[in-house]
Amino acid sequence: MTTSNASPFVDEDALFRPADFMAHADTDEREYANYSYIRETVNRFLSNKGALVSLVVISLIVLVAIIAPLVSPYSYSDVNSSITNLPPRIPGLEQLGICDGTQNGVDLYAEAGIPNEYHFFGTDGLGRDVWTRVWEGTRISLVIALIAVVVGVLIGIVYGLVSGYFGGKVDIVMQRFTEVLSSIPQLVITTLLIVVLQPGLANIVIVLFITGWIDMSRIVRAQVLKCKTQEFTLAARTLGVSSRDIIFKEILPNTMPQVVVTFMFSIPNAIFLEAFLAFIGLGIPAPTASLGTMINDGYNAAMIYPYQVLAPVMVLAILMLGFNLFGDGLRDALDPERS
């Protein structure tokens, strides 16, 4: 026999009367109050420390990339042959003996005739301020990636929706097309297109989204096919709801978690591709800086002036890591079954 923990002072006998449901009306609601999809998703995301830290780090990098070039006393493109290859010099830290602008005990800033200037990350082979260039480059890389991914995602969503929703012959033709397209190595498509179009900001964006939409279209199509057979869609169709309404009101919202996750993972992909193109000599032409072109410029001298390549490499690495960890966290939070 189980006994309860009710207070002994309650007169039990008096309680054997039909319950007053109005008095207990809140019981139901109270029990479900802390039980919702959004809240659980947010909870799951917040409990993922890696994702949370990444979000903060990404936001910081974006902020600095916007602000730093604006407030820097130097321009990213100013060439000055008298102050080339200066080591980093940062106020505050220089008292500690690091980043004090000296190399082998020689104050190169004094030698270059600018003893009162500070190049936080030093200068490159053309005397440009690496700090300003790195953040300018980060901004450009992020903008390229973001535009390419947004356009790619939109194309992918539309393509996947149309292919999945209409099915039949339309689907077969569209699927064969993506199949053939994805059988051509992305490397070859991107390289050839850039060779033909010539490197440039707009062309790089175009090249990135031309290959970037396929994954998204596959995911959306798979989701559409899944949704199509579910009761709520069938119900809507039976009630005579139009195709357009079914797509936009029933199917699209259900594909959103997957779309968001894929979107998040596409950004580091695009950042990487841009850097990769720059590295094989198909980057944005000078003097515009991007993380990729800076790494390409700095890598030749990497053994002599490691800081010139270290700065863009670190920013790139942190961005890629951050976006990947953030994407992981988002996926785990939105789609716990798949992780």
């Binding site: 026999m1 189980t2 006994t3 309860s4 009710a6 309650v10 039990e12 006998d13 008096a14 309680l15 054997f16 009367r17 039909p18 319950a19 007053d20 449901f21 207990h24 019981t27 139901d28 109270r30 029990e31 479900y32 802390n34 039980y35 659980e40 909870n43 799951r44 409990s47």
Partner: protein, 361 residues
């Protein structure tokens, strides 16, 4: 139901919780259960009532976030030495469980489509357990596999043994799963919603197969289901479970013809029946089961119970014995409670069932 009934499983005060991101979910909150040799015990309840979790404890199947807070499960079996052993399944190590599983306790799972290894032939999967617990090899082993498939009503067993799971239909796969479960003549068979994932027409056949095998082999069965129609067909004993507790238990006749707990009333009323008149609207139990994340005060069913008393919201009802094999945990059975009768609609329904059942049995 004679005096020589032999108890093979005795579960006492089983409490199981799950650790989740939102806190501890108390899925099973003090369950007692007895299974006697050669009898079928059903556990009925809505999804989330803890019926499956309870049964899986017997097999030692626990997820990573599962915590057993208390409870014993004494299992009595005849070992290979011919002697009778009694062990507490809850305190056995994984290694000790391995010796019992398949051999003395077996289980049939819900979804036959995912229950078989897609990369292995039926024969290898069927032989796997037999090899583990017996000395059969070669042609003897093969003969045993053929015999098992015949036992579960699969035609052309030789050809089927060479098949891969995806080549068989859902019903056929469930028969294979049953054959695997029976491969070492277990003492106790746990059926976890074995027909839920199947087509309606196949459901009946699989159910008949389980009943037939149970009678033929004389094994004990724990049958988990949310479907009362299935219960009436297979079970000798019924345990009605709600929110992690058994609220009413008795023989199938007790629970179907003389239900005492309002939740059982609700379940029986909401059961679709052919004989019900067309004007009669299908009864539904209003509201949702309680969130087991929260501490439950009083009777968990009270907020959904149209017959609830004030005391239901304050104090948990103890068990009230109706007779020596039937009890219910509801304050309505307390002598101090006002006299509450089951709904008239249900009463006429039960009368109808008695009549139909009498003819059927």
């Amino acid at each position: 139901m004679t005096s020589e009934r032999k108890r093979i499983l005795k579960i006492r005060d089983l409490r199981v919780s799950f650790k989740t991101a939102n806190g501890l979910v108390h899925a099973v909150r003090g369950v007692d259960l007895d299974v006697y040799r050669g009898e079928t015990v059903a556990i009925v309840g809505e999804s989330g009532s803890g019926k499956s979790v309870t049964a899986k404890q017997v097999m030692g199947i626990r997820t990573r976030n599962e915590v057993v807070e208390s409870g014993t499960a004494e299992f009595t079996y005849v070992g290979s030495d011919g002697a009778e052993h009694t062990v507490d399944l809850m305190s056995l190590s994984d290694k000790e469980m391995v010796g019992l599983k398949g051999n003395h306790i077996a289980m049939v799972f819900q979804d036959p489509l995912t229950s078989l290894d897609p990369t292995m032939t039926i024969e290898r999967q069927l032989a796997e357990g037999i090899r583990e617990h017996t000395d059969l090899t070669g042609s003897d082993l093969h003969a045993r596999c053929v015999e098992l498939l015949e036992l579960v009503g699969i035609t052309e067993p030789e050809a089927r043994l060479k098949s891969y799971p995806h080549q068989l239909s859902g019903g056929m796969r469930q028969r294979v799963v049953i054959a695997i479960a029976l491969s070492c003549d277990p003492d106790l068979l746990i059926c976890d919603e074995p027909t839920t994932a199947l087509d309606v027409t196949i459901q009946a056949r699989i159910l008949d197969l389980i009943i037939e095998l149970q009678r033929k082999l004389g094994i004990s069965v724990i049958f988990i289901t949310h479907n009362l129609g299935v219960v009436a067909k297979v079970a000798d004993y019924v345990n009605v479970m709600y929110a992690g507790k058994i609220v009413e238990a008795g023989t199938t006749e007790d629970v179907f013809f003389d239900p005492r707990h309002p939740y059982t009333w609700g379940l029986l009323s909401s059961m679709p029946s052919v004989s019900a008149s067309r004007e009669e609207r299908l009864f539904t139990i209003k509201g949702n089961p309680p969130n087991l994340l929260n501490e439950i005060v009083g009777d968990a069913f009270a907020p959904r119970n149209p017959f609830a008393l004030e005391i239901d919201f304050v104090k948990e009802p103890p068990r009230f014995e109706v007779n020596d094999h039937h009890w219910a945990a509801t304050w309505l059975l307390d002598p101090r409670a006002p006299k509450v009768e089951m709904p008239a609609q249900l009463r006429s329904r039960i009368a109808q069932m008695r009549q139909d059942g009498g003819e059927a049995r």
